[in-house]
Symmetry: C2
Subunit: 154 residues, 2 copies
DNA sequence: CTCTATTGATATGTATACTGATGATTAGTA
DNA sequence: TACTAATCATCAGTATACATATCAATAGAG
């Protein structure tokens, strides 16, 4: 009869939900107010200054429309700057502000604590196994998403 | 510097995203228009007829407010009935309609195909290992979610 | 039996996510 | 160079998700 509890999709959704909740709790406890996507966007921007929204979306595997909104809110809060790119007036170049850089630096412990708490249910060797299988699955299914990862190395 | 690609939360989110996309594609290809939550709600209702919204939310580990909206849409589309419960006029008893029952019966192959496609990247023994670790993680982290699973056996 | 705490459902507001469409701009081709 | 295709960003619409608050109704304590 297919109990939903046996469906991978159901369990994955639950773990995702837990992950988001833990991230929110940890960052709030550390005095920040940032969502996982917002963090991913800022962290990726630190490593790739000046990229446009579409490139950013590809790097963190998010929908371009969604990233438009995320970037908008981050800009409104002063964490990044958006400006029309020279040579291609369609694109908006994104750069972290001082405020964005400093946020990334100070939020690091909370991010680490999130991952520790999330994986606390597994022994160290199980975590490695889980992460390996997880990476294998996302790689194999990447093309099935409307927002696939795009961007070379990793 | 903590690349986001090494963070469990990031990979879990990606797999969840892929999972939702595959579910949508498979059910649409089969001629249906149903989201994963909607399916979970209907399937759980089939096994537990007459429960109220809060109980349903606990069984499928969803926020009560979210389930209110989901149930609303399912009712509007004629898949379930909502009526005030005798003895407790706060609660709404939920029951599948004929239409809901028949939808569940016919959508089964698409649901199965979704899970197959989702796990296609892993060998059979790897799938078992992944599912075992995944279940262990959701169980260990259940209490960290605002919408924990509540409901005995499964 | 009354007062209070709890509970089921909903309202409000914010933030993802995705589909489909459009406008502006650039690139590629004949 | 004129035309067409592709690309970047955005708009409109729908559906999750969650925090916080409120209303109606029930349960428990005294």
């Amino acid at each position: 009869m297919t109990q939903i509890y046996d469906l991978p999709g159901h369990q994955i959704r639950r773990l995702h939900q837990i992950s988001v909740a833990v991230f929110a709790a940890q960052t709030r406890a550390a005095g920040f107010d940032l969502t996982p996507v917002q963090y991913a966007a800022l962290a990726s921007l630190r490593d790739h200054p000046g990229i446009d929204q579409a490139t950013l979306a590809g790097l963190i595997a998010y929908d371009r429309v969604t990233i438009g909104g995320v970037v908008s809110r981050l800009e409104a809060r002063g964490y990044l700057q958006r400006k029309v790119r020279d040579g291609d007036r369609r694109a908006r170049s994104l750069t972290l502000t001082e405020r964005g850089e400093s946020l990334l630096a100070t939020i690091q412990p909370a991010v680490r604590a999130t991952q520790d708490q999330l994986m606390a249910g597994l022994a160290p060797d199980e975590r490695d196994a889980f992460m390996r299988l997880l990476a294998k699955l996302t790689e194999a299914g990447n093309h099935l998403s409307r927002a696939p990862f795009e961007g070379g190395e990793a």
